[in-house]
């Protein structure tokens, strides 16, 4: 029995080897796996049978992020390898730095994701030899080999690459990913990113045109357009404990017991950086490389529906978030449409509590909402801070423009 299975595994591996377009390179351990999509099947239903395989090459390493009060913090993080970097030079050039949050991964339901993770090491902590991983938090029916747990799977050493594979059929919704190695430390250090799967229903042009104006897409396969939106924004709530990061770069013992975030972040930034459209984080410590590449601004025209994909990945805090002045409806939680059979479990609210590891899909309807600036923020007032600085932390602005448009 066991022998037979072993044989079949060997056979499979060699068979797979033939089918995959393996880039050859100077160092074999930088192998990036990305098979061609030549099966002739249009798995994501967008009309193109050749675009159903998505390949990503991420690095896991370290860097620095700059908080809204100017404090520079040492981070671990993910970054995406540009296509023009030869795989053999990823490690040597060290040009791919930790980003906060990591690159956002957006997939169409039906697509397959080959996520190649290269551990480029922590150049500012050469004493560390940690492995890294990707854990796609919440994906239904995960296989432990691709779950990123250092306890139940292999995790990749410095200088090597691990291929993660995910199929997305039936898995539309809002998720996120993080490294699961030394997970309290690596998540607190910033190894966090967003991932979401657009539903097949986005290909249904009839349903999309049921919106006025037509919907840009749907949060889920709802069958009736009830989760249709015109504008969407993914927002990651997180936080840093400045003492933990300072101890880390100083090569001191890490204060797990005292861990308590004092910088509260939306997409890696505290207010008012959340509404700054520019790339940020290019401190001298980070060699001028922009580490915070994502804002949290939201802009919609009056009458449009805004989908907020919100999740909390703080290692210490639960957050209650609120939008003042715009009706808010919860249509999904934890990557699932809020519906049981034919029974809608949607609900309207003005605030929502999101614990670590939870996500929510919030639909804001700006119909009849006077043009102006509205705030999306945490009602935990002590978390509206950037360290010692007040009026910061988890807050961003939603600009509702006149129905005629936002101008320039």
């Amino acid at each position: 029995m066991r022998w037979k299975r072993f044989l079949s595994i060997v056979a499979l591996v060699s068979a797979v080897g033939l089918g995959i377009g393996v880039c050859s390179m100077a160092q074999s351990n930088f192998m990036v796996q990305c098979p061609a999509d030549n099966d002739g099947i249009d798995a994501d239903g967008d009309g193109d049978p050749t675009n159903d395989i998505v390949c990503k090459h991420l690095t896991a390493g370290d860097g620095f992020a700059t908080m809204a009060d100017g404090t520079v913090m040492y981070t671990f993080g993910f970054s995406e390898v540009p296509e023009d970097v030869p795989p053999g030079q990823v490690f040597a050039l060290r040009q791919v730095k930790a980003e906060l949050p990591g690159p956002t991964i957006v997939l169409r339901e039906g697509q397959e994701l080959y996520l190649n993770l290269t551990n480029v090491g922590m150049i500012n902590r050469p004493d560390l030899f940690d492995t890294h991983s990707v854990h796609w938090h919440g994906i239904p029916n995960s296989g432990s080999i691709f779950d990123g747990l250092p306890e139940s799977a292999p995790t990749v050493k410095i200088g090597a690459t691990f291929p993660y594979y995910y199929a997305t059929l039936g898995k539309e919704g809002t998720y996120f990913y993080h490294c699961h190695v030394e997970v309290t430390e690596h998540m607190q250090m910033g190894m966090i990113g967003q991932i979401y799967v657009l539903p097949r229903q986005d290909q249904d042009m009839v349903l999309r045109s049921s919106g006025n104006p037509p919907y840009a897409g749907f949060a889920y396969n709802d069958g009736d357009g009830s989760t249709g939106y015109h504008v969407s924004k993914a927002i990651q709530l997180a936080g840093f404990d400045s003492r933990f990061h300072a101890q880390h770069i100083a090569i001191q013992n890490l204060p797990f017991a005292q861990l308590k975030d004092d910088y509260h972040l939306m997409n890696g930034r505290g207010y008012p950086d959340t509404i700054n459209p520019n790339l940020l984080g290019a401190s001298p410590e980070n060699n001028g490389h922009f580490s915070q590449r994502m804002d949290a601004r939201i802009q919609a025209r009056q009458g449009e529906r805004v989908l907020l994909r919100v999740h909390n990945i703080s290692t210490t805090h639960l957050f209650t978030v609120r939008v003042l002045g715009i009706p808010m409806k919860v249509v999904g939680i934890d990557g699932k449409l809020l519906r049981n059979g034919s029974k809608d479990l949607f609900y309207e609210t003005s605030s929502l509590t999101i614990g670590g590891g939870q996500a929510a899909d919030l639909l804001l309807d700006t119909t009849g909402v006077p043009p102006g600036t509205y705030f999306f923020y945490t009602t935990n007032l002590s978390e509206l801070i950037n360290g010692q600085e007040e009026r910061g932390g988890i807050m961003t602005e939603i600009v509702v423009c006149p129905a005629s448009g936002c101008g320039t």
Binding site: S28, H137, N141, P154, T155, Y165, F256
Partner: protein
């Protein structure tokens, strides 16, 4: 790193202890059934995941030792239940009582307290609590006297009430060879129910009680400085699942080296089985419990089925990948796992091979999608079998503990307030436990 080595040592030591017993088979709710229970509040010690020893106050069954948490009381709906309490704690602990949230309790004996009648620390006075278990579900019990101190000190426990009504006709169809939809039907729908409705059928049930600790409180009690305790600046640094910290959470239940922490928190199942997961929190903070492997379907809270009306079943149930359980709250959920829609055959089958039980037909025979890196490029987890396939095995380095006998898929179930994955400043620990999905040829203890 230093921390990882510690983890290896702890797991290794634990594994050696486990070798004398049948590892990976002991996973179920252990409790005491009946209608009358004699509880005694006693002082004793527990062992934390980092090896520290901590003074506790807890409930003991009769003349037994105090245990943390207290005995899980397993009741049958409709039974009238009597719980007697005697207080054997040191005099400075003061009175003790028990409250049973969700039940209408009559108390007699002892002295009048703020919430209920209390037993003074004389080791003699008996307080009697009587209630009828009117509704099935998961409940907690805890001290109702100075709960800010006494819940922290360990006077907590869980109550499970099983439904009394005759269950719908059992449908014990044989294990299907394959299925083509998710989620699957139960192995034997109708055998066991959490509530009086087929929606709540399950094959196996588990319990996870989440608690927290501020060791400073326990040290002050130990040093006789109880008056100096200030519970307003409470600051947890240790977190528990069923009274243990990881890695002890996944050791067997009732091991001799944890005499006052008899319950483990290891979850085990075969693919396609339905797990009833009973969650409860006592202490100060909500704990967002994250389920690796799949979503759970939340069917009840505080012993109340999420239902729009009689006979509607759990029609208000919902799926979650993280369930935040608030202090003193209970949540019941159903979890299942088949590996459906993964895009590759998790058994490593060739297309012509027979299907495994509950195997997802759509992925049958599909190739493993990647080439795994060479053994030198990776670090192997202690719960990795050496093979990506369910029931598989493969190369493991010589120093590997080889804990995953049978080739199961192991999923961490843990608090996603990741700070809580530590034991007093040491990672990993705290509120971590595991679910093992093991192939059908690995037998699991029947309930």
């Amino acid at each position: 790193m230093r921390k990882s080595r510690w983890f290896g040592l702890a797991l290794g030591a634990w594994a050696m202890l486990e070798m004398t017993t049948a590892a990976w088979t002991q996973a179920k709710i252990i409790g005491v059934e009946g209608t009358s229970f004699d509880l005694v509040a006693r002082q004793d010690r527990i062992t934390l995941g980092d090896g520290d020893s901590m003074l506790m106050w807890g409930f003991a069954l009769g003349e037994g030792r105090m245990q943390y948490p207290g005995p899980t009381l397993i009741l049958r709906q409709g039974d009238t239940v009597t719980v007697t309490l005697r207080n054997s704690l040191p005099r400075e602990a003061g009175n003790v009582s028990i409250v049973f949230p969700g039940h209408e309790v009559t108390a007699s004996g002892g002295v009048e307290g703020v919430l209920t009648r209390e037993a003074p620390p004389d080791n003699t006075t008996v307080v009697t609590y009587t209630f009828t278990a009117t509704r099935p579900g998961t409940y907690v019990y805890h001290s109702g006297t100075r709960p800010d101190l006494q819940v922290e000190m360990g006077l907590v426990g869980v109550i499970v009430v099983r439904p009394a009504n005759p269950t719908p006709t059992p449908d014990c169809s044989p294990v299907p060879q394959g299925h083509n939809e998710a989620p699957p039907r139960s192995l034997c729908a109708g055998t066991k129910f959490a509530y009086d409705h087929p929606d709540t059928a399950y094959d196996r049930e588990f319990l996870i009680l989440m608690t927290d600790m501020d060791p400073r409180v326990h040290r002050l009690v130990e040093f006789g400085r109880i008056r100096e305790i200030d519970t307003t600046n409470f600051f947890q640094t240790v977190w528990f699942a069923n009274g243990r910290n990881f890695p002890d959470t996944i050791a067997n239940a009732q091991v001799p080296w944890l005499p006052t922490q008899p319950y483990n928190a290891l979850f085990l199942m075969h693919p396609g089985e339905r797990l009833l997961v009973r969650m409860a929190t006592l202490g100060r903070d909500p704990h967002p419990l994250h389920f690796h492997g799949n979503h759970v379907r939340v069917i009840a809270k505080d012993g109340v089925l999420l239902s729009s009306g009689l006979g509607a079943g759990s029609d208000l149930s919902y799926e979650r990948y993280t369930v935040a359980v608030n202090p003193c709250e209970t949540v019941d959920a159903i979890y299942t796992w088949t590996g459906a829609l993964m895009g590759w055959d998790i058994y490593g089958h060739a297309p012509g091979d027979p299907l495994a039980p509950y195997e997802f037909i759509g992925d049958h025979g599909a190739n493993f999608p990647v080439i795994l890196p060479s053994r030198d490029d990776v670090k192997f987890g202690q719960l990795y079998s050496g093979s990506p396939f369910l029931g598989g095995e493969g190369f493991l380095p010589p120093e590997h503990a080889g804990l995953n006998v049978g080739g199961g898929f192991f999923y961490m179930w843990h608090s996603h307030t990741e700070k809580e994955l530590t034991n007093n400043n040491v990672f990993p620990g705290g509120l971590i436990t595991f679910l093992g999905v093991v192939p059908w040829n690995v037998p699991l203890e029947s309930e």
